[in-house]
Amino acid sequence: METLIAQLINAIALGSIYALLVIGFNLLLVVGGIFPFAYSHIVVLSMYMCWFVLKITGNNLVLGTVAAIVSGVAFSLITEPIFRPLAKRGAVLGSFIVAMAISMIITDIMSQRLNMGIVISFPQSLQGKEALVSFGTATITAGQIATIAGSIGSGIGFFYLLYRTKIGRAFRAMGQSSFSARLLGIPITKTSLFAYGIAGFLGGISSIFLAMAIGTASSTLGDNLALKVMAVAMFAGLGNLGGGLIAALILGLAEGMALAYLPGNWSQAIAFGMIMIVVMVKPKGLFGAMA
């Protein structure tokens, strides 16, 4: 029983990180009009930047956090002009290929230049690995609590932005129909830039939680995360923000349980098996797609 609780907590923490990533992913998909396959790679790059700053400043957590968020926003905004001509043409599949190319470039830079390609690890103080609450073999660490609380907080903040602010209304309008949005006088480019910025901001926050939860990063992490995030988004329905959250939690649970109880290396197969089945049975995703 205690083991089950321990696995559940692990799974929820993992799922909450995926949920944050999916929010950013769907935002870029709906408002940016592109398929942001390279989003997870930008998140991992932010983790690297955070690590560099921590190394230089001697583990100053505040500066590290700021570095992660700033680099998330910066890298996201850098990719905006690359995707702009594609978004204008409505070439979403083309943007997928371009995003794959960008991910290739980022992975290569990470494996050759950053820290010589060796795995980077984050200091213990950031990870919050001490058990805060423990009952038997089930423990909850400060890191896990921070992750879950932070994800919930960011999620709530984001939905507040989406439903209670003007820019959020602009996002939703663009998501429904960018043509009508233009007719209504919504500045497409500015809104798009803002969406990239917010997605980058969410990415920066996710990178800190990832650093807490995983504690290491390597060049292969980008690809792993990208495929899982894509799988979750597909599972829930592309562009469906609320459904994405639930799907992320489900994937986190499934992966955690598979890792705990199934032999061999079946965790990826589970995630992708789910995708294939959902896509074949309900191509618009379980909760319906907005895009």
């Binding site: 794959m100 470039i105 992975t107 050759q112 690809d223 197969a269």
Partner: protein, 301 residues
């Protein structure tokens, strides 16, 4: 024949076949990555048949191709009607599922895969016979009413269906044929390299093939033919100091081409241009000169 030329030609042929697989289904606007997964099936099944059942090469080849076609029917039936994204992601998922299956099944050697695959005589000849045959088939497809129907589907699905084109049938048939070609490419790959590991048929290979076809041009079959040897061969002849940039070259060329010239380097206009100019050159070299034509006319008159 020098060893490196042999392997260069052999591997280029295999990659061209795979590029054509992606090209064929993209003719109707769907990016189907399943051929890479089916390639794994083809490679493993044929090697297993030859190594453990002692089958001759051609029998194993036919067996693997048939199995590949049958296996590709399963996702094809489900994905025929899927929106384009669903197909891309589902087929990427299929690649990973195949990798996991082959890595975990004990009969296929686990993570180390199969090795010691015997040599096949005249493999280069066999490969190029298949390459030319498939090329001719694709050419005939492109220039037939099926090719025109496919182009119509690419341009606008709704209009195509009003014209009576059954998109689902096209999708399924194309996916199954590319499954067969993919399995064939897998068999040839297995007998060229003579050792197969599950991690080879994965995401980075998919990225490389995607690069070849999108830089070359996805509207015609010639883009793949010209650009596969260039993109595969140039990193091999780069000086030592530049060899480290191989993946960056792939990524940047893909990005740049998609932004500047989205249809790829070789598109229909370029083909028309080449045909025109080569017609002029051919005429100059082998055609009758104006003097001869005048003389003949005079004789007749």
């Amino acid at each position: 024949m020098s060893l490196s030329i042999y392997y260069f030609l052999q591997l280029c042929a295999i990659f061209i076949m795979l590029g054509w697989c992606l090209y064929l289904v993209y003719r109707i606007g769907q990016l189907n990555n399943a051929p890479i997964a089916i390639m794994a099936i083809g490679a493993y099944l044929s090697s297993y048949a030859v190594l453990h059942w002692g089958w001759p090469f051609l029998l194993a080849l036919v067996f693997a191709v048939v199995c590949g076609a049958v296996f590709s029917l399963i996702p094809a039936l489900g994905l025929g009607r899927a929106p384009s994204f669903a197909m891309v992601i589902a087929t990427i998922a299929l690649i990973f599922i195949m990798q996991t299956i082959f890595r975990n099944l004990p009969w296929f050697g686990g993570a180390l895969g199969l090795f010691g695959i015997p040599k096949v005589k005249n493999l280069l000849l066999v490969t190029y016979i298949f390459l030319v045959a498939i090329g001719i088939l694709i050419y005939r497809f492109d220039h037939s009413r099926f090719g025109r129907a496919a182009e119509m589907i690419f341009i606008d699905r709704d209009i195509a269906s009003t014209l009576g084109i059954n998109i689902y049938m096209y999708s399924v048939i194309l996916q199954v044929s590319t499954g067969a070609i993919g399995a064939l490419a897998g068999v040839l790959y297995a007998f060229t390299i003579r050792t197969i590991i599950p991690s080879y048929f994965g995401f980075s290979f998919l990225l490389a093939i995607t690069c070849f076809i999108f830089v070359g041009g996805y509207t015609t079959m010639w883009g793949v033919i010209f650009f596969t040897p260039i993109l595969w061969g140039i990193p091999l002849i780069l000086p030592q100091s530049m060899a480290v940039f191989r993946n960056l070259i792939y990524g940047f060329s893909l990005m740049v081409i998609l932004l500047i010239r989205p249809e790829g380097v070789i598109d229909k206009n370029m083909l028309r241009f080449i045909r025109l100019k080569s017609g002029v050159v051919f005429k100059k070299l082998f055609g009758r000169s104006q003097k001869t034509v005048d003389k003949r006319l005079k004789e007749v008159m």
